[in-house]
Symmetry: C2
Subunit: 253 residues, 2 copies
């Protein structure tokens, strides 16, 4: 049997937001590699095996998965959200580039999913309705000075900003520093959305102004979305406010 | 009966990439508003009614949908991809903000989907594996000078760029102009992905260098992804190359 490697995005964590393509890819695989909590979301058969690893061991996990596929197994690498957004698809590509030539001949497929910022945006309104960007605040893999430059550049250019990996025990100060930088560039009234576990039972979405944005509101399961100067908040009776970025810029309202 | 408005993203156009949440929301709705080709993808029952409109009539469509929901109907506004990314969710929010107070009291829900750049990225490798942005090239709703400034800012800052609405009959020169601007900032060897109809039977994905990027390769169904200076191409025997943006920046390889 020829091995195959599929990298699957299971979406935000609510089974209703996992695509049939992802479900079918999981059913067709026999060995599963991933961060434990993502593997825990799968319901596997007796003939399916799981290999859990820590979330800071992405490259080692990618190599193990490629090696297993090269032995002839049907292998699945599992990501939450979309595997191409700050997740396992890039780690597998890195491992392929640096690995043995046989890894380039493996059948590889990538199954996209609903990434966190889309799930958070859907619960808040339409904050990503115009130009936007996604930036990881993790400075494990890039210097903090680069993150600072990028935040200033995109905020000045008027893009909405989705922050992935905003905070963790090992990176406690970066989100607060990011808010400080953004307060130098953006109006302090700019809406900020803390979107935690969007679509899951423990979902918590809150909207505050940039002036009041408190890093302590975020954890590893939070995607933080910071509006542009155009982003607006619509108050509603008996419902959460809607946050949206208009489709047009500079046009008279 | 109380009216309800649901804004649904059906994903890239392959039914296997539509979430169960979207399928269920469609089954629960009675009147469907959308761009004709998106409505054509739905299989509706006899008791479900469709109201197709042109793709440049988003605000009028949003108002019609809100009015219909306010009459007590179960209304669905259909977007391809994700409704929050350059699509109907922002148009509905605009209409609510400017509309009668009753529209703020309607039950509104937004169902996210796999947006085009994620589907294209999955077919190409992991080009969005690090910081990236999504920019609409449509200058119907914002001045071209703003688009130019944003392209320069994000390319200089090192973000991968996904271009939505790259070209149309009414906007024939903008994509070529965008490539010219990016050639001033980025290495001409930067990979460019033309991702047309990703996931659908008529899918066509091609990878060229920024030097060779020809706007004629794109149409309205294309999402164009331009790499950052870090983005790499892995050649493979008998398979399309993999394009990916490494997770780390500035680290020795």
């Amino acid at each position: 049997m020829t091995g195959k490697l599929t990298i699957v995005g299971t979406g935000p964590g609510n089974p209703d937001q996992t695509t049939p393509e992802a479900v079918n890819a999981i059913a067709a695989s026999h060995v599963f590699f991933g961060y434990g909590p993502y593997l825990d979301r799968l319901t596997l058969r007796d003939d399916q095996r799981r290999v859990a690893s820590d979330n800071r061991e992405e490259l080692a996990r990618a190599k193990d998965a490629l090696m297993t596929a090269a032995w002839g197994e049907q292998v699945c690498v599992v990501s939450g959200g979309d595997p191409g957004v700050f997740a396992m698809a890039a780690a597998v590509c890195e491992a392929i580039e640096d690995g043995p030539p046989a890894w380039r001949e493996l059948e590889l497929s990538i199954v996209p999913g609903v990434t966190a910022m889309l799930a958070v945006a859907a619960r808040a309104g339409a904050p990503l309705g115009h130009d936007f960007c996604a930036i990881s605040l993790s400075d494990n893999l890039k210097p903090w000075t680069v993150i600072e430059q990028r935040l200033r550049a995109v905020a000045t250019a008027g893009l909405v900003i989705a922050l992935y990996n905003p905070i963790s025990k090992a990176r406690p100060w970066q989100l607060g520093s990011a808010f400080s930088i953004l307060r130098e560039v953006l109006p302090w009234t700019t809406p900020v959305i803390f979107g935690r576990a969007a679509g899951r039972p423990d979902e918590a979405i809150s909207v505050v102004s940039l002036a009041d944005a408190d890093p302590a509101k975020a954890d590893m399961a939070t995607c933080v979305v910071i509006g542009s100067p155009e982003t607006r908040v619509i108050e509603r009776p008996n419902q959460a406010p809607l946050v949206y970025s208009p489709r047009s810029l500079g046009a008279p309202k």
